[in-house]
Symmetry: C2
Subunit: 194 residues, 2 copies
DNA sequence: GTCTATAGGGCGATAGAC
DNA sequence: GTCTATCGCCCTATAGAC
């Protein structure tokens, strides 16, 4: 036996994640079995469930984004309004994103499966809930915090969608542009005399 | 055989829905089986699936809210801004709600189960998607429409949550109040000289 | 790893209503 | 006869228990 020959191939979780994305792309989520993902990654079905509590989670592992955003809001200048603090943090989300290539593949797979779309939404809701705690430290009451977070996430979704489509723009610029769009949309209309 | 004696008890779907809510309340969603719901409603498990494509859906049947909101937006005064049209419609959502009593039971059951919370979120997303079509008829581009809808839904969620807690306020008043809160939250801060 | 309950789909049988 | 609601039985996959 050669020295340095590992007993198991490394990064079982990563292999499962890559195998799953690949299979979901080619066959669709519903028509892919957990056993198939595991086999493709050189593992057994049982081992899959050691890494992921259910089949959907294989596309949603990791808390980096939530942690990054919460940290960003906690660290924000106390002089900023809550929405400013949130949007600044959301504008740096790309710091924890994978390659745009990978994100686009993932977004497409998720959009193609209602089951994955559900999971995606609750993951976003989990992030929102985590940010309530961060705003709480700034003295924002939870109900109001959740409301402002929902608005900020709406801005972020629009900005991120644009950013995925336009390789040249920066995310934080698009967040700022979308925030301006928000201010305009909620302002009372200028009813010019007709 | 007596005249008027139906072969089956009527309203099988309603019986399933009531049995499910009751069982989810007492046992929780996960610990309730489809067979149990069906038995309680006097049906078999197989028949359950004739009415609902899956176990979660038993709490989410019906499209009344989506239809009501889409119709409200379609019928809105063309002079209103998109967000005004949306918020007006959302302020009348109570017209298609069940009793507050029933809503509170349902909200509690959904909040207690991650699986049901997921389904709840995607139902809201489905409504949002339907409203994109309604705003399209008003000449709003889809990406922008979805953004404004997400913001309006954030307002509506906060207003509805307050309305459920406060039996005396009207939903449309609370929507208006929350819209004012939104305008204040997104306005640049008045930085008084320090 | 093995075992098992449950979800959920396919297909056909049955039995009134018409 | 057709239509429609229900049930029966078979199957696989998920996911949790042991």
């Amino acid at each position: 036996m050669l020295v340095g020959m590992p007993r198991w191939e490394s990064d079982a979780q990563g292999r499962l994640e890559r195998a799953a994305l690949e299979l979901f792309e080619t066959q669709g989520f519903e028509r892919t079995t957990v056993a198939q993902i595991a086999r493709t990654a050189g593992l057994t079905e049982r081992s899959f469930y050691r890494y992921f509590p259910d089949k959907r989670e294989v596309l949603f592992a990791g808390n980096e984004l939530e942690a990054h955003l919460a940290a960003g809001v906690e660290a924000a200048d106390p002089g900023l309004t809550p929405i400013e603090a949130l949007l600044n943090a959301l504008g740096t989300a790309d710091e924890v994103f994978q390659s745009r290539e990978f994100l686009l593949r993932r977004v497409k797979v998720i959009a193609a499966s209602p089951a994955l779309a559900e999971r995606d939404l609750i993951k976003l809701a989990d992030i929102a809930e985590a940010l309530v705690g961060a705003l709480d430290h700034r003295g924002v009451e939870p109900g109001k915090a959740r409301f402002i977070i929902d608005v900020a996430i709406a801005v972020s979704r629009r900005a991120t969608s644009r950013w995925l489509a336009d390789p040249d723009a920066t995310l934080s610029d698009l967040v700022a542009q979308t925030a301006a769009e928000l201010r305009e949309a909620v302002a009372p209309p200028t009813r010019t005399a007709g």
